[in-house]
């Protein structure tokens, strides 16, 4: 029993070592994907080039401009004197936004009237546009109070009744609202899943495709030994990949692991069980490596879209959220983000751990059942 198991494990490692595509998939792909996505999926927009057309030329209009620049979301690239220049800069793509301060700005503020300035945004890149608009809104809301206060100090005029509370929004866990912090744990989960599923699916399909499975089946080897012998090498490889991905996340992207690293590894292992089971399951359906690849791809797409990897689940329609509940990656991302960013312990994660365990047991059972059937 043990001898047969070891024989398979050893053979599997020799084969991986001799197969450059496997090696690439095992060691290069996770690193590349993490670096590539880590930067490409960086959805922070900052240093938006800004043109300012200050028609007021007052202390207050300069303050407003300064406030915009201080956020670091905007760079003051041009000061202009006409709407024609504004249009030309926006058309030429040399600025993405233009702040237009009308002549009566300071006077309106002094009188306690609503002072209006205009921010023109290039809407062709929705992400940039949205960021610019929301930052402008934040800045002006938050700063308008300060400005009003400044007015009070200078002139001794009572402040008109406005919202009495400071509506300063502050993000927890990720104070800088940096999307890297949010993305890297997600990426680690996604990469783990894809590589593990693909490798395991290939491992068995390859045997079937090349006819070696038939030779194995006339030996006394049992289905369970074959399956375990195939899983062990890929569990080890997956763990190395976890280490690699975590290392890059922590040391390169500076995403901390606030919570317990052991809990993180333990629950990652749980997720790996699921991914391995899924790969095994695919291999019992697919006849060729190409089919296995296609199945994996077909599975990756919904897990990217629905798990909350890119799009926050809270903003999805309810039906889609329910669908997301059927995707184990959803729970694993919660776990990863919970442990890495919030530092929560297992007591807050049961909601995610239990469904994940259920999925894992279910797919492994299904895969072994199908596997045994195929062996017959």
């Amino acid at each position: 029993m043990l001898r047969r198991l070891l024989a398979i494990i050893k053979k599997e490692f020799i084969q991986i070592r001799r197969d450059p595509p496997s090696l690439v998939m095992v060691f290069v792909m996770p690193v590349m994907m993490l670096l590539f996505f880590g930067y490409a999926v960086n959805m922070d927009v900052d240093h938006i080039p800004l043109a300012v057309w200050d028609q007021d030329q007052s202390q207050f209009s300069r303050l407003l401009t300064e406030n915009f620049v201080q956020t670091r979301y905007f760079d003051l690239s041009y000061r202009v004197q006409s709407s024609r220049e504004v249009k030309a800069l926006l058309d030429g793509g040399r600025v993405r936004a233009a702040l237009v301060i009308p002549p009566g700005y300071a006077r309106a503020l002094r009188r306690g009237e609503i002072a209006t300035a205009q921010l023109v945004v290039d809407g062709s890149d929705p992400l940039v546009a949205r960021t610019a608009l929301s930052m402008a809104e934040l800045t002006s809301r938050y700063k308008s109070q300060e400005m009003r206060l400044a007015v009070v100090d200078a002139e001794g005029v009572p402040v008109p009744a406005g919202p009495g509370v400071d509506i300063r929004a502050r993000a927890w866990y990720n104070p800088g609202l940096e999307s890297t912090k949010f993305n890297i744990p997600g990426l680690i989960g996604l990469i783990m899943q894809n590589i593990t599923v693909m490798l395991t699916a290939f491992a068995l399909v390859r045997e079937r495709e090349r006819g070696t499975l038939e030779q194995l089946m006339v030996t006394p080897i049992r289905g369970i030994e074959l399956m375990a012998g195939k899983l062990v090498p890929y569990i080890l490889i997956a763990l190395v990949d976890v280490g690699l991905a975590l290392g890059i996340g922590v040391f390169w992207f500076k995403v901390p692991v606030v919570g317990s690293i052991f809990l993180l590894l333990g629950l990652t292992f749980l997720f790996l069980i699921f991914a391995l089971g899924l790969g095994m399951f695919f291999s019992t359906i697919a006849r060729t490596q190409l089919q296995a690849m296609q199945m994996t791809m077909l599975f990756i797409l919904p897990s990217v879209l629905l798990s909350g990897f890119i799009f926050p689940r809270a903003s999805m329609p309810l039906v889609i959220q329910y669908l997301g509940n059927l995707i184990p990656l959803t729970y694993f991302l919660d776990i990863l983000r919970g442990i890495m960013l919030k530092g929560v312990g297992i007591e807050y994660l049961w909601d995610d751990v239990l469904p994940l365990a259920v999925f894992g047991v279910a797919i492994i059972t299904l895969a072994s059942w199908r596997f045994r059937k195929r062996v017959e």
């Binding site: 024989a7 053979k11 020799i14 197969d19 070696t212 038939e214 030779q215 194995l216 030996t219 080897i221």
Partner: protein, 247 residues
């Protein structure tokens, strides 16, 4: 040791609507070499796969080395050596790695493996290529590695499905010399083939066609009964007139 290495009775296999093997019965005495002949799709591989425990018969029964092919399929597997029609060793492993792998699957210890590999390399004329990747070997070499691998656990029965298909004549001759040595040692061999010269080397032959067995017996007897000079003539006659299935 059983007197009969293989006994099958009314072995039948259906794949949905396809009747792949129909009421096939024969016996192969231990120590003999039995050639199963027939055109493509006649049911040879299916018959063999039922004997090896790879397929479950739809009907009928059989014993291999005294073991029931249905209820004792696992014990059968441990005691026979099988070469499938499609080359099915690991091409990305070396000759020795393949032998060692299959040897350990059959339960050989490391010490036994070392001995066995060296012995097989000599016997199966594999010397000089022990550490070459199997995928880089030519057809004849591959077949000898496959034979060595099927024989790694010293089974008393070898089941070989078209072992020499597509192999050059010199390699075919070497291969048959190896088989004859094994026969001399008392190993029973079931082999399927297209080549009539190979069939004439067999103690027993049978012709299959459309899932049925049409003739069974020593080649000399079949030729004498039909009054024809070669086995090929016998089979051509059987095939053209339809013939009575052998039962």
């Amino acid at each position: 040791m059983e007197a009969m290495a293989i006994e099958v009775h009314n072995l039948t296999k259906r794949f949905g609507a396809v009747q792949a093997v129909q009421d096939v019965s024969f016996t192969v005495p231990a120590g003999s070499i039995f050639g199963l002949l027939g055109p493509n799709g006649s049911g040879k591989s299916t018959t063999i796969r039922m004997l090896c425990g790879l397929l479950r018969p739809t009907a009928g029964s059989g014993r291999v080395l005294g073991l029931d092919i249905i209820s004792q399929a696992e014990q059968v597997k441990a005691r026979i050596g099988y070469m499938s029609q499609k080359f099915s060793l690991y091409e990305d492993l070396t000759v020795f790695e393949n032998l060692r792998f299959f040897g350990s699957v059959y339960g050989l210890t490391n010490r036994e493996l070392d001995l066995r590999c060296r012995e097989l390399a000599a016997r199966m004329k594999l010397e000089g290529r022990e550490n070459q990747l199997v995928g880089t070997l030519s057809g004849g070499w591959k077949q000898r590695v496959a034979l060595a691998s099927a024989f790694v656990h010293q089974p008393r029965l070898l089941i070989l499905d078209e072992p020499t298909a597509g192999v050059d004549p010199v390699s075919r001759r070497i291969f048959w010399e190896l088989l004859n040595v094994l026969i001399a040692e008392g190993v029973t061999i079931l082999v399927t083939t297209h080549y009539m010269d190979e069939a004439e080397n067999c103690h027993l032959v049978a012709l299959m066609e459309g899932g049925r067995l049409y003739a069974f017996g020593p080649p000399e007897r079949l030729m004498a009964e039909e009054g024809l000079p070669t086995l090929e003539d016998v089979f051509v006659r059987m095939a053209t007139r339809g013939g009575q299935p052998f039962a």
